[in-house]
């Protein structure tokens, strides 16, 4: 399959080609949007109309019932609390530790920096696997069912450290730091009063990356949490979601009590919307930071 399409600036594209491209991207955008809009639509649909019409983009019968039930249980609000809490803790703490690690790596006069770089980088190449990690977290660190379990294992991201290191070494002139040193500044002061303020853009980018990671994480709770009070949004959603199939398989009426405990279809979709809502609202504003960070990350292996 040949990849060929041309490139170059935008001044060679004829009107016709431009229109065709626009149609193509328009259709593509619809493929991306449609599932999301569908879920949103279903969350506003009357449960009984589902049976007749299935999931539709325009609800046949509009209702807020699903949201009333979803918010009424209080579970979602609790999950929000847990998610926001773990995201803030994980992002702030992780960012601080990673920045501290990245700064020495960016200093040309630090003789041993390649060892520490390799030390971090090696973990992306080889790992001990799921089971040793799990045993470590539960038997030895006793992270099982703790709030810390939601973010501590994921505090460090080696890619983010490397991006930060690159950012610092590119954006903060050595001369500046040397001048501060001559003036008798300690390394900590240099870090805190020069490097950090000047790295705001890089910090913001990595902070966004981290927020996304923690907000969307379902894996840590899946592994380490069984107490429903500690469920975060994604994991709560996952638990509810996987229960649908259990019900569908045992669709005999004997499970009517189960049906009462598990929310109706539309309620699940409402919970889904409540979970993805914040991210969808926020990400367009930070789009360009993500892109910049990703580009630095992909090129600076």
């Amino acid at each position: 399959m040949r990849i060929k399409k041309k490139n170059v600036g935008n001044f060679e594209t004829s009107n016709l080609e431009n229109i065709i491209l626009h149609i193509f991207f328009f259709l593509l955008s619809i493929t991306f949007l449609y599932p999301v809009l569908l879920v949103i639509a279903v969350s506003f649909t009357e449960q009984s109309s589902l049976l007749q019409y299935g999931y539709r983009l325009m609800p046949k019968v509009f209702t807020l019932d699903a949201y009333r039930i979803a918010l009424g249980t209080g579970d979602i609000l609790n999950a929000y609390k847990v998610t926001i809490g773990s995201t803030i803790c994980g992002t702030v703490l992780g960012l601080f530790i990673m920045l501290l690690y990245a700064y020495p790596l960016s200093r040309k006069n630090f003789k041993r920096k390649s060892y520490f770089t390799f030390f971090a980088y090696f973990t992306t190449l080889f790992s001990g696997g799921l089971v040793p990690w799990y045993i470590l977290c539960t038997q030895y660190l006793h992270l099982h069912n703790t709030f810390a379990a939601m973010f501590v294992p994921s505090l460090i991201s080696v890619w983010d450290i490397i991006i930060l290191r690159t950012f610092i070494s590119v954006n903060i002139p050595d001369a500046l730091i040397e001048a501060a040193k001559i003036d008798g500044c300690s390394e900590f002061r240099i870090f805190w009063q020069i490097v950090v303020p000047l790295s705001k853009a890089g910090i913001a980018t990595i902070a966004l990356f981290r927020v996304l990671v923690f907000w969307n994480d379902y894996y840590l709770p899946m592994m380490l949490i069984s107490d429903s009070k500690l469920y975060n949004l994604q994991y709560y959603l996952q638990v509810i979601f996987l229960n649908i199939q259990i019900l569908a398989q045992n669709s005999s009426a004997a499970n009517s009590t189960l049906m009462q405990k598990v929310p109706m279809e539309t309620t699940r979709f409402a919970m889904c919307v409540l979970t993805m809502g914040p991210i969808l609202f926020i990400y367009p504003f930070f789009q360009k930071y993500f892109i910049k960070g990703m580009v630095i990350g992909s090129v600076k292996g």
Partner: protein, 308 residues
């Protein structure tokens, strides 16, 4: 290179000397705990672990766990699934993303362009839990769009999607690309934007048409970024997107023959500690070797494009 004298007396000067190490310390500890200690846990693959006896107290059993793993009837199916999915994902992922970036680059400047980009990136920000819901809205047996609307429209009977394993390679392929190409293509687009425009002008003066320009300028300039992506992906060849294979398929047993990959298999075998560790070691080790191999291949061909 500054030579710090070893005869410093004041405390602040001593701290300064070690300050880099102090700064590295928290990160170092965390990386050590969560990255290196589990590597030590690999000995579990060689032991017959029982929780009361702990790691040290459990008996050695040599290669028994490995033998058990390689004798598992599903093992080849799972390895095949893992490798095939990953290879297809890697190559189509890069292919589609580059094509998309090239196409997007052709658009004349306009306001819609930004909109396309924003919408294109959106799936990346959704977690696989959400994506699983989105897929469910299509494939749900009773209410899903496919069974309620599309198939009846085509005059076909409803399909129990979550019970038929044969459809899932395609489903997972579509979902994976749906989620990834918007974002990846933006990365390649940014790389394309960084290419020196003078190359193109010179080419146009020499009479190169659009395809030639793409083939001889754009693609070669993207070689570095593509080869780095490829090498890194090789390391994950025996891994896999856990969320994709576990959540989107709703963990349905009947689908395992086409949705079970090494990571999900290891997760599902976690109660057999030694066994699962052996499988995990198998995956990690091969991934590591693959990275080394692919990196040295790239090094021999085009040294600047290699990872290390």
């Amino acid at each position: 290179m500054k030579q710090t004298s070893k005869k410093k007396k004041s405390l602040s000067e001593c701290i300064d000397k070690f300050s880099y190490y102090i700064m590295l310390f928290p990160g170092f500890i965390l990386i050590f705990i969560f990255g290196y200690i589990p590597i030590a846990g690999i000995i579990l693959a060689f032991k017959n672990y029982s929780a009361p006896k702990g790691i040290l107290g459990s008996k050695w059993c040599g290669l028994d766990n490995f033998r058990a793993f390689f004798r598992t009837p599903d093992m080849w199916a799972i390895t095949r699934n893992t490798i095939c999915y990953n290879l297809v994902f890697i190559f189509t992922g890069i292919l589609f993303a580059v094509v998309l970036a090239l196409l997007f680059n052709e658009l004349r400047k306009g306001t819609m362009n930004k909109v396309y980009q924003t919408i294109g990136m959106m799936p990346y920000f959704l977690s696989y839990v959400i994506v699983a819901y989105l897929v469910y809205s299509f494939l749900g047996s009773t209410y899903g769009v496919m069974n309620k609307t599309v198939l009846p429209f085509l005059g076909m009977d409803p399909i129990n999607w979550y019970a038929e394993s044969k459809y899932w390679p395609i489903i997972l392929f579509v979902v994976k690309n749906w989620k990834g190409i918007g974002y990846s293509s933006v990365v390649y687009l940014a790389a394309i934007a960084g290419i020196n425009q003078e190359f193109y002008e010179a080419a146009r003066i020499d009479g190169a048409n659009r395809f030639q320009q793409a083939f001889y300028i754009t693609i070669p300039c993207l070689k570095t970024i593509i080869s780095i992506q490829l090498i890194m992906s090789m390391g994950g060849l025996f891994g896999g997107d856990f969320g994709l294979f576990y959540l989107v398929s709703m963990n349905q047993g009947p689908l395992f023959s086409t949705t079970n990959v090494l990571p999900t298999y290891i997760y599902r075998s976690m109660d057999k500690v030694g066994f699962a560790t052996a499988a995990g070691l198998y995956a990690s080790l091969i991934g590591f070797i693959l990275v080394l191999i692919s990196n040295s291949i790239v090094k021999k061909l085009e040294p600047e494009n290699s990872l290390f």
